[in-house]
Amino acid sequence: MSATIASAAQPRPRPRQSIFRNHIVRAVISIATFIVLWEVGSRLKLPWVGDVPPPTVVLKALVPLLTDQGYWYSWYQSSRRVFTGFLAAMLIGIPFGLAMATSRIFRDITFPVFEILRPIPPLAWVPAAIIFWPTQELSIGFVIFLGAIFTIMLNVIGGARSIDLRFFQAARSMGSSNWDIFRRIVLPGVLPSIIVGCEVGIGITWNVVVAAEMISGGGGAIQSSAGGGLGFFIWSSYIGGSYPLIVVGMISIGIAGYISSSIIRRLGLLVTPWVRVR
């Protein structure tokens, strides 16, 4: 059966899509559903969810905090720790990683030691760090430093290795010196991987900061109360029985973490404008 012959070429108009197919609308629906389920589950005292304060209560607890100086100071303290620890990790990790990537001998000497230290979770270092470092801040800083540095170094090495050999060959054939090659081929070539390493590293850093702050407030290694920060805030809310504040703290850290990842991503795009976003 021949179908009727199509009319002369006329592009068909695009059919109007249902609004429920728009991905932003769907995102809103899904998050809204999640919040509703949370509220209902909490109010109905369902197992597990029932013990979590419902979102409305959490919101009520959040409002007075927004004007509380202590709350924002906690933000500052955690952010400061994240920032300084991460910066230290970058300042040492990137050159170290580059050295490992460029010098075979250096890598052969240092990589095995690196590999046996890496599986030890950063938080396992906390007591050793306290014994060693004179102040608590330095101990926390050291642990944060460790948390980030392994990831950063791994990414630097991986990034350097993946630079296409032909770039080196092209540069050599145009008469570049070793230093030129390093500056103009290796560094820019490694940059995207460094950025990725930093994005992952900052997530680890927040984890470590939060944990260190909780440990300093809670039972265990560090006993002094001079810790502060959002992790400490969560822990002391727990100890003090103000459960809604726990959730407030969690959300706060989530937001802070998201902001720091975004900053890194933005900076990354600035520094590597040639990388095409997938």
């Binding site: 059966m1 021949s2 179908a3 012959i5 199509a6 009319s7 002369a8 070429a9 006329q10 592009p11 068909r12």
Partner: protein, 288 residues
């Protein structure tokens, strides 16, 4: 000798053997980052059942879009495509269903790397439920032997040479008794020595299974050597510019390349191809 492209309802239908394709006033518009792109515009082409139809054109001109439309990988925005009189896609049905009657051999190869060559070749009939695994393996072994692929049945595609991979992929397609074989620059990545061997291999396979072959290439020599007809397409938007009847008799051997008839066919068409290539170059076409 040029045959005018068939248009409109006047031309009589080809019922006889399987695999006649009619492309009728096909349009394809898509929206990319740069805005609205007209890949194919009012393109009409008749492909006869059982013939090798070569599609030649500059990179990025829309030939692959045409192939994808026939295969059913995306829709068309105007016109219709028929296979043996049945509508594949058209005004009420903008996208065809992919199926084993029109199997594609891909430009960069799409043998499943995690299956052995034999498993790849036997994949079609098994997955369609037409044969058991054993039966399919038997037939696959036979067809692979016919194509000169002995001893690599249990290797993974990553372990054999690219020429061999192409042959395996072609055999995989043929296992399904397709009406049409859609080849998208299958030999583009091969060196010209391997290519010449592959050409003869393809022809041998063709003589044994008379499927319709829709073959996209940008190599004019390859097109004239293999094809019954060569359709030279304009640069984007794609449309047949000139259709060449290659009246060199089959079966063909490689010495045909130096025959005077071959050379005169090249002469006739090389300027048309070159003209489009220059236009494409100036328009800064990137490979789509």
């Amino acid at each position: 000798m040029n045959a005018p492209a068939a248009t409109g309802a006047a031309a009589p239908e080809q019922h006889a053997t399987k695999g006649a394709i009619r492309i009728q006033n096909v349009d394809k518009v898509y929206y990319a980052r740069e805005g609205r792109v007209q890949a194919v515009s009012d393109c009409s082409l008749d492909i006869r059942a059982g013939e090798i139809c070569m599609i030649v054109g500059p990179s990025g001109c829309g030939k692959t879009t045409l192939l994808n439309a026939i295969a059913g990988f995306h829709d068309i925005t105007g016109g219709a495509i028929y296979l043996d009189g049945q509508m594949l896609c058209g005004p009420d049905k903008p996208k065809a269903e992919p199926g084993p009657d029109r199997v594609v051999v891909f430009q960069n190869g799409a043998l499943f790397p995690w299956k052995t060559n034999l498993e790849n070749v036997a994949f079609g009939p098994v997955v369609q439920g037409r044969m058991t695994k054993k039966e399919a393996a038997e037939k696959a072994r036979g067809m692979m032997a016919d194509a000169g692929l002995v001893g690599v049945e249990h290797n993974y595609p990553g372990e054999v040479s690219s020429g061999m991979r192409r042959r395996v992929e072609i055999v995989r397609a043929l296992m399904n008794d397709p009406k049409v074989l859609l080849l998208d620059e299958p030999f583009g990545a091969l060196d010209s020595l391997t290519k010449s061997v592959m050409h003869e291999a393809l022809l041998e396979i063709y003589y044994r299974n008379k499927v319709t072959i829709f073959f996209i290439t940008h190599d004019l020599e390859e097109a004239i050597f293999l094809g019954h007809r060569v359709a030279i397409m304009t640069t984007r938007p794609c449309k047949p510019k000139k259709i060449l009847d290659v009246d060199i008799p089959h079966p063909r051997k490689y010495n045909v390349l130096t025959s005077p008839r071959f050379r005169s066919l090249m002469e006739e068409t090389v300027s048309a191809v070159h003209e489009e290539a220059v236009k494409a170059f100036e328009a800064g076409e990137k490979e789509m």
